[in-house]
């Protein structure tokens, strides 16, 4: 039973982080129907800037909650800048191009960013400092430490909080309304005076911030990062987004959680070798049965 609970918590943690990345994918897709292939790299860059920031600030003597908060803020800020730059250079000029061009451009950007970090930093694994286990005020978690480590609790709670904030942004703010309007009908939204470029930029910022938080959290959870982590994580997060129905934010979260659980249980009960296979098998199966994803809406085509 304990083993089961452990796997459950592990799956929830993993799924939570996938959800943070998947949301960025799904929001961008909802707005400009683009698979932002380089989104996984933004997550990786978030982890790296987070690492640099944490080493820098802890050398200044910062610890605990202040350190964690500052690290996340720095990572989010830089990831947002990378996301914006990416949009401006690799996607914005291709707004009217055929579908294939932006995707290739995105793949190019992904390869570029991955090797950029590899060359400026290191091709090897880097140790990520343990920012969460000794946070003051979390000692009450000790009794359940055998089931869920503090960092896992931290990840789960933060993801839940972020989802609440995101829901608020999407449902209650003007930006969220504009985003939803653009994803329904970009032309009509522009006619009502919505600045498309602004909405797209904000979507990229929002998505990048979420990915960066995911990057810092994964660093804390696995304690090591390298320049390759973005690729597979990005791929799986996109899988999660597609699973749930691309363009749907709750769908992305649902897809991410399913994926997290599936991987965790496969690794636990079957074999760790096939953990990565599961994601793609699941994807193929669900799309075969329900091509628009779990919560995706089938769009009636007007002819």
């Amino acid at each position: 039973m304990n083993f089961f609970l452990e796997l459950l918590v592990g799956g929830l943690t993993k799924g939570g982080i996938y959800a943070l990345i998947a949301l960025g994918y799904t929001m961008v897709y909802g707005i400009i129907a683009l698979i932002n292939f380089a989104h996984g790299e933004i997550y990786m860059i978030g982890a790296f800037t987070g690492l640099i920031a944490s080493l820098f600030f802890s050398s200044l003597g910062l610890t605990g909650w202040a350190l964690l908060a500052l690290v996340i803020m720095v990572a989010a800020l830089w990831a947002a800048m990378y996301g914006l730059t990416l949009e401006k250079i690799a996607y914005a000029p291709l707004r009217k191009a055929s579908r294939l061009s932006p995707l290739i451009s995105a793949i190019g950007a992904s390869i570029f960013l991955q090797n950029f970090v590899l060359l400026t930093q290191t091709p090897n694994y880097l140790l990520f400092p343990d920012l969460a286990s000794d946070l003051p005020g979390l000692s009450f978690l000790k009794p359940i430490a055998h089931l869920a480590s503090p960092i896992q609790v931290c990840v789960i709670v933060m993801v839940a909080l972020i989802l609440a904030v995101l829901t608020f942004i999407l449902k209650k703010t003007w930006t969220g309304l504009a985003m939803r309007a653009v994803s329904q009908d970009p032309l009509m939204a522009q006619l009502t005076g919505i600045n498309l470029n602004k909405v797209i930029a904000r979507t990229f910022i929002l998505g990048s911030v979420l990915a960066a938080i995911g990057g810092v959290l994964i660093g804390c959870a696995t304690r090591q990062i390298d320049s390759n982590i973005g690729f597979l994580a990005g791929l799986k997060a996109f899988t999660a987004a597609v699973l749930g129905g691309v363009g749907s934010a709750p769908g992305a979260v649902l897809g991410a959680l399913i994926l997290g659980f599936a991987e965790s249980f496969t690794a636990g009960y079957f074999s760790g070798d096939f953990e990565d296979v599961v994601a793609f098998v699941l994807l193929t199966l669900i799309l075969t049965i329900k091509p628009s994803g779990l919560l995706g809406q089938k769009i009636a085509q007007k002819v």
Binding site: A33, I35, I45, T49, I52, L55, F56, S59, W78, Y82, T85, I89, A90, P93, L94, A97, R99, L100, S101, L103, I104, S105, I107, G108, A109, S110, I111, F112, L113, N115, F116, V117, L118, L119, T120, Q121, T122, P123, N124, Y125, L126, L127, F231, L235, F238, T239, V242, V246, F274, D276, V277, A279, F280, L283, T284, L287, T288, P291, Q301, V303
Partner: protein
């Protein structure tokens, strides 16, 4: 472009450069030391960062003006459309190709040069040439799926891998030879193409892309984790293709060395493989050009352009998609068998996602749907890295950057599809 406009572009580059410095700065000048676990300030990169950021911003502005893109046009200088370097090269090459297409003599000369190429060259050049040819075959195969039918396939390397592993495994376990395995490898890939096709018939666009990507990853992960395929260690000592049971090096080499001046380091087995793949490419080009002007080829094009209109013209979508997938995969399977024979050792990383991307780029780089474009694309993708100095990662960095720039400034590819 006037001097004044150039100056203006220089001045306009500053804000962009500043932005790039802020964005890229921390990762460039601060490096985490993996041993001490501390952040180091790398002073010698500061100048590089400043110069690099300014140069990037300046060239970006310049390109945008030259390519006459909307943002570039806002400025003072008049748009000098299609004066970009790549456009010039593209126009030049397409002119040449079109003019030469007509002449039969030209093709005879090309064929002779290609046939006797191994006799005049080094083993290294032969290896590169064989790679180019294998990539042309792969590109032509993927072109059926992506270029003609518009099905975005991101897992094509898996089908290439099926061919390679089919030969390696059948050779290892059953001792089957190249000539038996060549059609089998093609068929196995085609069958897998159909197996992938059946569930994805209903999928379109990006969903299809992501499923094919996932399919490719499943294949690679299975190769890595299964014992039958020898996991990550891969399979070595793959036999060269037979030639009527003769040992080529023993039988022919002394004669060729003495009389024609064959490079003594040349392995005749590799020459034989080169000739086989040359034959395959010739056949593929022939078949591909036939397909383009056939009922089936037009059905693929119709599918790419507008699925509903295609159906309204009586095109059976399922059949059309499946034939495209099966046929494209068949090419890949053949290329895979030859690849395994050429390289004699295969392991899963040869069939990774990046490999799929390389093949996709070959199709897009040259100009979608254009056969000369694919030949050009395969040549560039294979030969260019041989010239770029520095580590693999520098090459990849440049490769990634070039992909973005090409899509932004010349998305239609270097050559346009001629009609």
């Amino acid at each position: 472009m006037s001097l004044k406009a150039l100056k203006l572009t220089l001045v306009k580059a500053w804000p962009g450069a500043l932005w790039l410095i802020i964005v890229a700065g921390p990762l460039v000048i601060l490096r985490v030391n993996e041993i001490t676990g501390r952040v180091e300030f790398v002073a010698e990169r500061v100048v590089k960062l400043l110069v690099g950021a300014f140069l990037a911003a300046f060239l970006w502005g310049l390109f945008r003006q030259l390519s006459g893109s909307p943002e570039g046009r806002k400025g003072n200088p008049p748009p000098l459309k299609r004066l970009g370097l790549s456009a010039l090269i593209g126009a030049f090459i397409s002119l040449k190709v079109n003019a030469l297409n007509k002449s039969r003599l030209f093709w005879v000369i090309v064929a002779l040069c290609l046939l006797f190429f191994p006799l005049m060259t080094s083993p290294y050049a032969l290896k590169v040439a064989t790679s180019v040819l294998i990539y042309i075959a792969l590109g032509l195969g993927l072109n059926v799926i992506v270029g003609l039918s518009g099905l975005l396939h991101l897992g094509f390397a898996a089908f290439y891998g099926v061919g390679a592993y089919a030969y390696a495994l059948l050779g290892h376990y059953l001792g089957w030879g190249f000539w038996v395995c060549l059609p089998l490898g093609g068929l196995a890939a085609a069958l897998l193409g159909l197996a992938l096709g059946l569930p994805v018939i209903r999928l379109t666009g990006d969903y299809l892309a992501i499923v094919t990507l996932g399919f490719g990853e499943i294949f690679r992960l299975l190769l890595t984790n299964l014992d039958v395929t020898f996991g990550p260690r891969g399979i070595g000592q793959i036999a060269p293709p037979g030639f009527f049971g003769l040992d080529l090096n023993q039988t022919f080499k002394p004669f060729l060395e003495a009389n024609i001046g064959l490079n003594p380091a040349m392995d005749l087995n590799k020459v034989w493989i080169y000739l086989i793949v040359l034959g395959l490419v010739a056949l593929s080009v022939k078949v591909a050009s036939r397909l383009e002007n056939s009922r089936l080829g037009r059905a693929w094009l119709a599918l790419r352009e507008d699925e509903i209109a295609a159906r309204a013209a009586g095109v059976n979508i399922a059949f059309t998609k499946l034939t495209a997938l099966a046929l494209g995969s068949f090419f890949a399977g053949l290329a895979g068998v030859i690849f395994a024979a050429q390289i004699t050792f295969i392991n899963p990383p040869s069939f990774s996602f990046m490999e799929s991307i390389y093949i996709l780029v070959i199709v897009v780089l040259g100009g979608q749907g254009s056969i000369p474009g694919i030949i050009l694309g395969a040549t560039i993708i294979t030969v260019l890295p041989e010239f770029l100095r520095g580590s693999d990662n520098y090459r990849l960095l440049i490769f990634g950057g070039l992909l973005v720039l090409m899509m932004v400034f010349r998305p239609q590819g270097l050559l346009k599809r001629g009609r």
